[in-house]
Assembly symmetry: C2
Homo-oligomer: 412 residues x 2
């Protein structure tokens, strides 16, 4: 059979060849990977989780080994309501405002399906988290990228874009503005409080929904936690995406969408079609963990580990790249990523072959750019490699940059 | 904000109000539910799973608490290859033929997305499993129902339909034929070997793909296991959907798609966008369980439990409904469902209010009919209620039927 003939438009348009190529690169033995946003397994509370898993299977098998409701575990919802109150200062959440998903990616995909059509417009930061971008693209909407600055999205550009859409009679086609306000993936930057407030004003002015993706917010190394858009907006107009993947373990695959009841109900309807429900076992493990331990204080250890790794990477970059002209990077106040930008002319996707030779891996900026054109930037994730490998990896990266740069006539 | 204005066509077309209404009915305290295909928790090997969960978190946390690949656990794939050899007699499967999903429903949804467009045609049995049907419908294709007989799909009708499509130049729009060959959901019937062979011949003649959904095949109470379409076709032209939900536990939410490499790869690409990966923990628990225990012999206990429950239900039906004219039911050779059909004029959706009064719940046939018109049939699931409740539930059902029938002038 010629199976290709069977594909839908969605199937035909799916093209993950770059990602797959990258994954092969990352799997080369001996290579140091600054690739995925993959947590350090030493941060996982394995003893606690092992104990809880055994208990909830033995004692609550009636629940944990059975189908769940599509909305998910109500015990976990109770815990999350407490958690959101503590972390985000939100105190009027109800179960009907919460839907558990199979990781944040499923939340993003549900948003795509329930909100986006071919005629839709969605607005994202540029650079943008590429798997969210890939999900939005499946609906074939118009995606407008707003340049990201060191304190978040350039709101002057955003206002300009919205004004033009409004004048062109297209503002109703805008389904949401997608943002990662804390320790941006890939850019590492955090949106300032001023910009958060102004973004909400702009959204209110044009009656737009905001999709706030906050996987890393709790992983702050220094400085003050900033209020979420969700809490600033008073639980209106904002959908907040959260996940346990970076702060507890990705092995459970639990994401959370928090938002207005009406939208949550629609997402739950979509989830029922998409996979009926998420595993009861995983949700109950998380619920019992949150009941028994204080996630925030448990996280202290992980924060220290990641802070130290960030310091080591930033120091290594300063040591190695001080003599490479026009190289810039953001020192993130938290999260998992450093965004390194080389001088114009560098194409970090092409340069990856040099990096491969040297045994180091990063994610090329092109994957994160809305126009998908060559980029001189790259995302460096410091969370997984051991400390000495970070130093060694940055050295290898420098060698790759020099070799590529010299070959291309970009460096002497 | 008026969130409704934001919905995509998918979002607007999602309508699960009947299902939600039904779920409320099922949750009424004291009601006996013949509703969901929800396994009896006493069939879950809870001690074994509890032990394994603890072990794999403690000893394999590096894997079990981390992100997985989109394709899933290769150790589980090894086990499934052995399993498929043993159960289906398929001996040339490779990892590239297998994708693990978040339950079978995710597999169905991936099939919908990768294969179906608005212009597509798909062919299903009538009655049809309603959540699969609901998934197919989201792509707005033309769905053609083929009447189901006691030995499976009416293949004369199928041939006729295909011939007409072919003559009308539309045969290339047919993306697949969906079938549940063993202990059909909802109809309880099993496709005969003759029909399996002929279905494959027809599919070959028109060069069509078959989607074989087999959640219950292992739950055979009597008679001989019949070869799957997948194995009869030699792993070509057939996608086989499998799940652990009915034979181990639904709490892990592990489904499997087995099929041609090219399609599997495309489904994996789609899954990456949809939720990145399924939980590592759950897959490794299942893998270790299959390594350590023989699922087939472990299942003996569950089979005995369900066989006994089926016998009790069928006997109760014979006792209660022998004096209700034109009432028919299929005694299934396995699986979880009895399909009960009353005489013409009964509308089992409308009758549900009478059943609610009596404290018994079933799934009305209308949900399973392709034209979604009123139906005199209902699906009765015997897997969850305790034995004495099955007898009591059938008694209550009889009362509801009599009251409704008399009121409607269908019975005297």
């Amino acid at each position: 059979m010629n199976y290709k003939e069977l594909y839908s438009d969605f199937g035909k348009n799916l093209n993950l060849s770059i990602v797959k190529e990258l994954l092969k690169f990352a799997a080369i033995p001996g290579a140091i990977s600054f690739g995925g946003g993959v947590p350090d397994p030493e941060t996982f509370p394995r003893k606690e989780l092992a104990e809880i898993a055994k208990e909830v299977i033995e004692n609550e098998y009636y629940y944990t080994l059975q189908y769940n409701s599509t909305e998910g575990d109500s015990l976990l919802a109770d815990q999350m309501i407490k958690f959101f109150k503590k972390v985000y200062g939100v105190d009027n959440l109800k179960h009907e405002n919460i839907l558990f998903t199979n990781g944040s990616q499923q939340a993003i995909d549900l948003v795509t399906r329930v909100l986006l059509d071919k005629e839709s417009i969605c607005i994202v930061e540029n650079p943008v988290y590429f798997v969210a971008f890939a999900s939005f693209k499946t609906a074939l909407p118009t995606i407008i990228g707003i340049p990201l600055e060191d304190d978040g999205m350039n709101l002057d550009v955003l206002e300009n874009v919205l004004q033009n859409l409004d004048m062109g009679g297209k503002i109703k086609k805008v389904k949401f503005i997608y943002t990662v306000p804390n320790f941006h993936n890939p850019a590492g930057v955090t949106m300032s409080l001023e910009k958060r407030k102004r973004l909400l004003e702009i959204a209110a002015k044009y009656d737009l929904l905001i999709l706030e993706d906050d996987p890393y917010g709790l992983l702050r190394f220094e400085g003050k936690h900033l209020p979420s858009l969700f809490s600033l907006a008073g639980c209106e107009r904002v959908l907040l995406l959260n996940t346990f993947s970076k702060v507890l373990t990705p092995g459970l695959r639990i994401g959370t969408i928090v938002g207005p009841k009406e939208l949550i109900e629609k997402f739950a309807d979509a989830k029922q079609i998409v996979d009926l429900c998420s595993p009861s076992l995983n949700q109950r493990i998380a619920a019992r963990y949150l009941q028994r331990y204080d996630l925030i204080s448990q996280l202290e250890n992980a924060i220290q580990i990641y802070k130290r790794k960030r310091d080591i990477m930033v120091e290594a970059l300063a040591n190695e790249f001080s003599d490479i002209p026009n190289t810039r990077w953001v020192k993130p106040e938290g999260g998992l990523f450093v965004w390194l930008t080389l001088s114009e002319g560098f194409d970090t996707l092409e340069m990856l072959h040099f990096a491969k030779e040297k045994g180091v891996f990063y994610v090329p900026g092109q994957l994160f750019t809305v126009d998908e054109k060559p980029s001189s930037s790259m995302r460096l994730s410091y969370c997984l490699p051991p400390e000495e490998k970070i130093i060694e990896g940055v050295k290898r990266l420098k060698q790759a940059v020099v070799e590529y740069g010299v070959k291309k006539g970009l460096l002497r």
